[in-house]
Symmetry: none
Subunit: 212 residues, 4 copies
DNA sequence: AATGAATGAGCTTTCATTCAT
DNA sequence: CATGAATGAAAGCTCATTCAT
């Protein structure tokens, strides 16, 4: 007899993983707005209601996907950044580890992008806005916080490595450029994200460094 | 009875414009997936079927919106670029004129972004892919062709202004960074796209120029 | 060309009437909780969506039914009561006209009872509570107000016809006893509501009159 | 292993009681149509399947609830009536003991009313009709039989206490008036059922007594 | 040029019930 | 005795589209 505190069953975990994986495939292929619970269930080969047994609502499923992928991304990126000591090194590591993750987890990346741009709550909020709201009282700690490149930019300015720049705006440009890779991947699965990443490394190295 | 050669009636044109304008407002406010023909019709104050009388399908309406906004954007950007002689000048003009257009036509910009990321044909194609396909035999001429910054990058390399770079990848990064502004505008209508644009000008000037 | 202010079309009215009639039949036969839009549509021989084209939601349909029947009931009962001068006369007329209406409109009566006892808003309100709320700022005027037998009881006490009694409690007893007939009709369509009404007339005449 | 003759286990009985109690609370609060087995299980803090382990179907649970409450009601009312010798006394005792039971067991009363008006078998029968059918071969004995006020009315007529009246119809009026209190309790938990009961005592005393 | 009416396909979600453990 | 997992049926509702007028 399992104690009441025991977490999800093994079977439960397996199914959830299976459903999340199927959902990612469907979303990456068809786009978020054209993804229904029925299609996901079909893809797994189970009944529609089974999906809703494991994820109370479609929103819950979608949130789980995003959190899953983001967490896995952070698990790769944070150590890569920590291994570097200079701000410039961290910035390059941020870009490279992100692109490597995108390359290895193509569909996951595309699916998350699809969700982030397609999802809306009943009141019209995007998922990122909803997550912000949800974590208002419970701010992200550890890995997720470290993921915002704004910290790197401020570090670089503080250390005199970087020129005077607007951390917020440069961060926005960087994130947009990186996310652009996911967009391209959605169009062409063979898009060379690594090469794109190297170009970004070059662009942002030049764009941020203090001139002699 | 109108002669066959005569274009659309004046009334016809007025209605189409009116509907496109309403659709842009609704899409920008509610997001593409939450926009229905009914809502657009309501917003104009006409019957749902009137919308479909003027645009055979929802896809046709959506395509018309994108083409309309893109054309108006090109009309502003092309002259701005043409006024510059150096590649660097053209690149800055490309960014600045684009951002100015975004600022002046906020809702239009956001709506187009919503459509480009939310729309899919029955077979799963994105709108940009569909447009490419549609114009395969009938390639874009004039303004639209000039809009691809790839030409600027190649010019800069040819003239020795720019370093060796991958025109395609830098173009992708630039487009992604610019489109990122539309994304931010969707979240916060007061986002300072002009300041963001200046930061982009700086980033891409540094990122492209040949070092002495 | 109809003017914009023109009310519902003839066709529209016909369909609405037809749907309301079908809904009453289904509800009276199967009970409110077992009545679905699909069943109603089947009963009319139209598509489910046609019902929702004419009544935006199930709630709207149900509300329309109740209002329709109640209005028709009031149209019969109010004149019957007005024709009497004494409070005792009005009380008897109230009961008799109500029972006659029930007899003639059996299914309508049963359906309304089913709805009133089975319907709940999302927040748990019963339909009568919802209607009260809806008409808080816009209190019922004319016929509906006259229908509350409380006025008769107060009149009778004022005129010295009736004994000292609690108008609210006696009204409640009277309404419950009358509604009981609808309940019986639901079980047995041949229930003699007229005879029941005469017994009620006797009961409440004796129960209210001042003793000599 | 228990011997075949032994009744339900103690544990078994406890669980059943617990589930019935929870079901009553949920039904009284949310209404029968909005009550699901899942909600009841949640309220007890057990799994949904446990409820169905103890009650084969939802119908069985609901039937058990009604029988439970009705039995407890009879246990209070029958002695109260038996203590009176005159028909008039019994009639008043019937009303008063019923109302007192309602006051003490508010939620139980409301729940039973909810069930009686909301429940339907697959074939459309109401619960009271189903119970009648179930006990056709096995007619109610003892307490339940005594509960029908028809016996009191006939006694009163036989003894010359009451006027000539239709026992069935007066019984129906009386039951409807009493059940009306449960309806009011469902709307307002603070409804003064005792006062209402006293008014009913007055009404039916006057309504039934032979005039001098 | 405009529109009211109708419709089918699809959507998310709820739920009582079954079954193996 | 208890439960997690699975499921099919049905619910209310949305929507792009068709068609006759």
């Amino acid at each position: 007899m399992r104690s009441k505190e025991s977490g999800p069953t093994f079977t439960e975990q397996a199914r959830r993983t299976q459903i999340v994986a199927a959902a990612i495939e469907v979303i990456a292929a068809a786009g978020y707005p054209r993804t229904s619970i029925a299609k996901i269930a079909d893809h797994v080969g189970i009944a529609k209601s089974v999906v809703l047994y494991h994820f109370a609502t479609k929103n819950a499923l979608v949130t789980a996907i995003v959190e899953d992928v983001l967490t896995r991304g952070a698990a790769v990126m944070v150590p890569a950044m920590a291994a570097e000591t200079t701000a410039a090194g961290k910035l390059s590591a941020y870009i490279r580890s992100n692109m490597r993750f995108m390359q290895v987890n193509q569909r996951d990346t595309v699916a998350v992008l699809e969700i982030l741009s397609g999802f809306r709550t009943e009141s019209g909020l995007r998922l990122d806005q909803k997550l912000e709201q949800d974590t208002a009282a419970d701010p992200p700690q550890g890995d997720m916080a470290l993921l915002d490149p704004i910290a790197i930019l401020e570090l670089g300015m503080g250390r005199g490595e970087f020129r005077e720049l607007s951390p917020v705006l440069v961060r926005n440009a960087l994130r947009a450029a990186i996310d652009g890779a996911a967009w391209e991947l959605g169009r062409d699965p063979d898009y060379d994200v690594i090469a794109y990443g190297e170009e970004l490394v070059e662009i942002f190295a030049r764009a941020t460094r203090r001139e002699s």
